[in-house]
Amino acid sequence: MARYIVRRLVAMPLLLLGVVTIAFLLSHFTQADPLTSIVGERQMNNQAVVEAARKRWGLDRSLPEQYLVYVGNLLTGDLGISFRTKQPVAYDLKLRLPATLELVVAAMLIGTAAGVALGVVAARFHDRPSDHAARLFALVGASTPVFWSGLILLYVFSVQLGWLPGPGRIDARGAAPPFVTGMYTLDSLIAGDFATFRSALSHLVLPACVLGWTMIGIVSRMVRASMLDVLGQEYVLTARAKGASELRVLLNHALRNALIPALTIIGFSFAYLITGAILTETIFAWPGVGSYAVAAARELDHPAIIGVTIVGGAAFLLANLLTDIAYALVDPRVRVGGARGS
């Protein structure tokens, strides 16, 4: 197991280099010159200004040269300067990644808890109204576009009912908590600022629910299918025959085993949610990596585009690795790396 993890960790930089190379090439084959984002509209006609900007941003060099400089800088942790924000991309990501992680973790908690619960209910009451209702709820969540459900939920819960605040991470009248993790809920707790914690948590509820809802469908369907499979197994019948309560049979015997395939889905969902947070962040004015990526793509901000791609790639690779490890820990039959066939 340890050898497997080490091997995967060693391979990760190479895989990331591949991601960087592809992202670099793709961003340089776009339709327009990134100088249009750097030089003002009026100045695009001024050749002297255009050339000065080209030189200043290193765009006068050949593509291979730009690539080598970029990779060289990358090795020192320098992701370049964003054409749009004029700040180091690493700094931008440091501010924005925690926002996305906070949203994604909250969405995962909601998606996993609700997905598992719905899956269990649906399997336990197979082909009965509860099953149909759970499946319908999951289906709606999985198939409704986030931009639509987000706006509707905002309108209902924020505007009409006034139960939850509108877009943003925090009430604009308040100030962000001192930066520790970058996650406002955690940082406000660390600072002992409960008013800010309340504001941050209340702002998190709606976008996390919207994003988590898309995951509920996938998780609940997987859990339902696994549970139906497991509930027919002999050891479940044995447990029931031995007089175990239905709740104990469901949670301790059936769910524990049914969760193993769902674990893969949950693991992959993390990476999916990180990249899938783009629309949610846009709707809820959530200043995370997703909205950063959208703005970067719109403004041909090459360093930011590549930076986000690296983060997304790393998140996917890490999630993959962690899922494999969790899979091996949960299911003793699975042995990765050093497994020997019998």
Binding site: Q31, A32, D33, P34, L35, T36, S37, G40, E41, R42, Q43, M44, N45, N46, A48, V49, A52, K55, R56, I81, R84, T85, K86, Q87, D92, L95, L151, L154, Y155, S158, V159, G162, W163, P165, G166, P167, G168, R169, D171, A172, R173, G174, A175, A176, F194, A195, F197, R198, L201, S202, V205, T282, A285, P287, S291, Y292, A295, R298, E299, L300
Partner: protein, 534 residues
């Protein structure tokens, strides 16, 4: 003793319940102790005062810096600011300013003539978007600490107006230079201060920059060393709110005090006694533009063809379709209310004339026209949607338009080369004065639209009369005479038919009823220092 698992669960459940209670209980803090919140799309290209060039930048610069003069609340008059008085020589080539002796920057140091000279030179030499405002400045002299003499290389009666633009503000040169700012001829390559300005302001304005987080918020706090009357509100936040619907929601819920980009249609959906909605005419406008020099033209876009297409547009329908009637027609590329625009002939729809003119040009059967437009919604007008309306209008004279919506950055490149045969765009003034429009839209040498529309052959479109008239206007001190000259220039620009304004959208001022001082400024959008709470 190790706590039991069950006890651990209980603790977590308790924490969750506490969190839930906290979420449900809502905002509590007193209004008067909280900052004023403005909901607005935060599209900022830079906070470097000499590189910044955007609508939000105008608000920022006006709040944190000051210029020599300011635009009055009537959006026409020029008032003293850092300069208490000034003299202009008869031929409009020399401007002498006398600085207020008690003016200080936010760090308490005095505003001196050297700061003005340094700021103007940096603005010119850094070659940022607003650098054009200093074109024509030949020399800046500082005979003493409180006197600045600006010498122009040609008469410029509009220079005082230019100095009301927030881009011509005065920066604390010592502080900025220490942060890497340079004003010399090599500033374009030697200056390294742009990133520093993202977290610092260095002006003498009523506010200072507190924090700026990209796509999140721009926070101001009162300048405790402000040399003028202290602004009523201690802290103001511009909260990044991308769309009009979200801004309206924030306004209604009380999360925001002012919403700045609500379009008339969204304003109609606001139903609250606590929200004030005012609709005022603006100087912003949307126009369509022809580029006869664009490579993609399938037929020559001659003057006759351009005139015919302009006659084919349903101007009233466009205003109704785009802003629900909450806008005004505009005759020339100089906006209504600016010098020279009184009694200009408004554009008219005349389909018969359009058809006749196209027939005379041998195009009775029509032709295909490529349209590239940026996917933008500006001043409540969705540009691709506007083009769909125009597509229907032009179809009536057998012209088939092929609309291609593109990202703004793609548009900015294509308009220069290979050119775009037909497009739609927008413009907002930088200050009160008509010359800025001639420099941008006129068919005069080096004008932005002459270069774009001519496809590298400016002589094909240049209108020498416009250049002559502009020269006269800039050399004329008499306001009435200047107005008459700009009127003639406007007529010439209408006749060019390169730029056809289609709507000047009204501006919706939307704010909570306890807010006072909300107004539209032609140069500065929203002067924050004038805001107060009732």
């Amino acid at each position: 003793m190790k706590p039991s698992l069950r006890a651990g669960y209980r603790r977590w459940l308790g924490a969750l319940a506490l969190a839930g209670t906290a979420v449900a209980s809502g905002p509590v803090a007193a209004q008067d102790q909280q900052p004023l919140v403005i909901a607005r799309l935060l599209e900022i290209n830079s906070l470097d005062p000499h590189r910044a060039f955007c609508d939000t930048c105008q608000i920022y610069l006006t709040a944190t810096y000051q210029g020599l003069v300011a635009l009055g609340a009537d959006n026409r008059s020029i008032e003293p600011l850092l300069a208490t008085s000034w003299e202009i020589n008869p031929d409009q080539t020399e401007f002498t300013f006398h600085l207020a002796e008690d003016a200080v920057f936010a760090d308490g140091s005095p505003v001196e003539a050297k700061d003005v000279k340094w700021s103007f030179e940096r603005l010119k030499n850094i070659q940022g978007s607003p650098s054009f405002m200093m074109s024509g400045v030949a020399a800046i002299e500082t005979p003493d600490e409180h006197t600045v003499v600006v010498k122009m290389d040609a008469p410029n009666s509009e220079f005082l107006g230019i100095l009301t633009a927030p881009y011509t503000i005065v920066v604390n040169s010592d502080v900025a230079a220490e942060a890497g700012a340079r004003a010399g001829a090599d500033a374009v390559s030697a200056d390294t201060a742009e990133a520093w300005f993202l977290s610092h302001s260095a002006g003498s304005g009523p506010y200072v920059l507190d924090t700026y987080r990209v796509d999140d918020e721009l926070r101001f706090k009162r300048n405790e060393n402000f040399w003028g009357e202290a602004p009523p509100i201690a802290e103001i936040v511009i909260d990044h709110t991308a769309d009009a619907v979200s801004q309206a929601q924030m306004l209604q819920s009380g999360a925001a005090d002012i919403a700045m980009q609500i379009d008339p249609a969204t304003a109609e959906t606001i139903d609250s006694d606590e929200v004030v909605i005012e609709t005022v005419p603006s100087f912003n406008f949307i126009y369509v533009a022809f580029s006869p020099g664009a490579e993609a033209n399938r037929v020559p876009l001659t003057l006759e063809v351009r005139q015919a297409l302009a006659f084919a547009l349903d101007y009233d329908g466009i205003i109704e379709f785009t802003v629900g009637g909450e806008g005004n027609p505009q005759a020339s590329p100089i906006p209504n209310g600016f010098p020279g625009t009184t009694d200009l002939p408004m554009p008219v729809e005349d389909l018969d004339k359009a058809r006749q003119m196209l027939a005379d040009a041998g195009l009775a059967d029509g032709f295909d026209l490529d349209v590239v437009v940026a996917s933008l919604n500006v001043y409540g007008v969705d540009l691709p949607l506007l083009m769909q309306k125009i597509q229907q209008d032009l179809a009536r004279v057998n012209v088939t338009t092929h609309i291609q919506p593109v990202a703004s950055s793609v548009w900015r490149e294509q308009i220069v080369k290979p050119g775009i045969p037909f497009t739609a765009r927008f413009y907002a003034p930088d200050y009160y004065g008509s010359a800025q429009y001639v420099y941008f839209f006129g068919m005069i040498e080096d004008a932005y639209w002459l270069t774009n529309a001519s496809g590298g052959q400016p002589e094909s479109l240049i209108n020498p009369r416009e250049g002559e008239l502009l020269e006269q206007a800039l050399a004329t001190a008499d306001e009435a005479k200047r107005e008459a000259i700009y009127h003639e220039i406007a007529l010439q620009m209408i006749a060019d038919r390169i730029i056809v304004p289609v709507v000047s959208p009204n501006l919706v001022l939307a704010y909570r009823n306890n807010v006072a001082g909300v107004r539209y400024s032609a140069c500065c959008n929203l002067p924050l220092a004038e805001l107060s709470l009732k």
